[in-house]
């Protein structure tokens, strides 16, 4: 039943997944000393061949990342084209995160009077929605909501936590994160209506994402004007740490306090073992990838698509780090930003 409907998309994802860069690839890429070397390697030794082939010297990190994005979008679009409901709905949910970023971009651009082209150029194609350009040309936030947002899936995220009328008053980052929280909660509700495999796997993955969202916001809000009540308001209503852990996170003021909370959760204990304040962030990424790796081991579920998108993003991040380190002659820091699981 699953295969009949979604077999093609699943096969596509698994096919793409086998072509991900491996530990071996990263080790070899790490030996490159110039971006031209990296380009040549990617062209001959990886599935990026057709994307990087036309790059002209001098190659810059952004050029390579641009190629990666193209591949990501192409791969994702193939999934979408072949999908039918409910997989298509699930895949749409995967794009909402990008949509939120695009909306925030457009909103910010509109408030500052930027031109439509300048804004649309920056928007991610994955999260593109038809009324995006209408956001930019709206003259007021009320108009924006009425013309551009009402028909998008993001509309429902506004009503509950933030009012559309407040859009020009609120800090743009608050809007972004409230929307993201609403999105995670909505996605969770959606997944609970799926088949059992998907439900179980997605619950685990989304809980982890919810925890990660909360922990990162906590860590990043130290020393900023974000009030504890506002911080609290950005946490989701589910998650491994929900509700006690979140309640305690809301009152943290230092990295050490966060660590003391995390230590109580077996899955996060590993994160507290380093003195580097950024170690937690990196550790969370590793945990996410591991969970995604496990999801890919299972069959007949939608979670593999979620995992697939995360792996794509991870690979782009890795390559971005790799190319930047090489370009800036900071290769001693390579290990800090390349994350992979075997």
């Amino acid at each position: 039943m699953f295969n009949a409907k979604n077999g093609f998309s699943e096969a596509h994802v698994r096919g793409c997944q086998t072509k991900r860069l491996t530990k071996q690839n990263y080790a070899e890429l790490s030996r490159c000393d110039t971006l031209e070397d990296i380009k040549t390697y990617l062209q001959t030794m990886s599935d990026y061949s057709e994307y990087v082939r036309d790059l002209q010297a001098p190659v810059r990190p952004v050029d390579i990342i641009e190629c990666c994005r193209k591949r990501q979008i192409a791969e994702f679009n193939i999934c979408c084209q072949q999908a039918s409901s409910p997989l298509s709905n699930f895949l749409e949910y995967l794009t909402y995160g990008y949509m939120i970023d695009n909306l925030v971009l457009a909103l910010n651009g509109m408030l500052r009077g930027r031109t439509t082209e300048a804004i649309l150029e920056k928007c991610s194609p994955i999260g593109f929605f038809d009324s995006l350009s209408a956001v930019v040309v709206s003259s007021s936030v009320q108009e924006l909501y009425r013309l551009a947002l009402v028909d998008t899936p993001l509309a429902s995220y506004f009503s509950s936590s933030i009012k559309a009328e407040d859009l020009d008053e609120l800090n743009i980052e608050l809007i972004r994160n409230v929307l993201y929280k609403e999105y995670l909660q909505d996605f969770m509700v959606f997944c609970n209506k799926m088949d059992q495999n998907t439900r179980q796997l997605m619950e685990k993955l989304l809980s982890m994402e919810a925890d990660r969202h909360a922990i990162r916001i906590t860590l990043n809000s130290f020393g900023t004007e974000l009030s504890k009540a506002d911080r609290r308001n950005l946490y989701t209503n589910f998650g491994t740490m929900y509700p006690d852990g979140f309640a305690r996170l809301a009152n943290c003021e230092t990295v050490d306090e966060v660590k003391r909370i995390l230590v109580a959760y077996p899955e996060f204990r590993e994160l507290t073992k380093s003195d580097d304040p950024h170690y937690i962030d990196r550790g969370l990424r590793v945990l996410e990838l591991e969970a995604c790796g496990q999801a890919l081991d299972e069959q007949f579920n939608f979670a593999i698509f979620y995992a697939f998108v995360k792996f794509q993003e991870n690979e782009i991040n890795n390559l971005m780090w790799l190319t930047e380190c090489v370009a800036q002659r900071q290769k001693s820091s390579l290990g800090e930003g390349i994350v992979y699981i075997q």
Partner: protein, 269 residues
Amino acid sequence: MSSAGARLNVTPTVTTLAVIKSRLAGAQRGHRLLKKKADALTLRYRGILRDIVEAKRKLATSMRDAHFAWTRAKYAGGDAVKHAVLDGVDRANVRVMAHEDNVAGVKIPKFTCRKCGADERRMELTGLARGGARVREAKASYGEAIGLLSELASLQTAFVTLDEAIKTTNRRVNALENYVTPRLQNTVKYILSELDELEREEFFRLKKVQAKKKKDIEETEMMEAEEEKRITQAVDAELRAFGDVIGGEGGRGAGGNLIESEHDEDLLF
């Protein structure tokens, strides 16, 4: 020297000489002072040159760190962070204040960096869920680089200003050394020589006058002598004629004859 021999166009009098001499003294004092100023400026200038090289080297490291800090922020926060920064530009928080530093009378602008507190917190939530801490680190890192840059800007401005000031001062020193002073000196020489000349002329004139006087006297004497001679001759001739008439005797030893004849005459009368 091209200006060798050149001088001011003045009337060579003792008064002018005094004026020119005081001007020359002024020029020489000015030269000494300007030379001192140029030395002070050059000393500061060399110090600045070394500081610039040092600051540029520090800047290279600082910028490298700042760039990498920003790369970390972008890695942690993705493009959203970049767009948030680019779209968040409004009024500048970082301002450059200019003060003036004084080196040997040359005003050198000096920059210091100031952060406007009011706007400082505007962007601090950037990357709240992703990379916020890294973004703040990058911000601090660029802040450090900006501190260094304003220092470097001060040095560089001082460099340009001092360079200009030293050139001007050196031009003045050179002008005094090679143009003004020699001209004044030449003028003094000229006046002195003119005055000498005048003196010599005066002397010559006096001599001439004296000579003339002498000549006049001599001439008078000569004329008197001639007159006497003429008279004597006339008398003589008369006497001779008289003698001829008397004795028919030739003009042999007229004087003696004259006296004789006079005596004779005395005797006769």
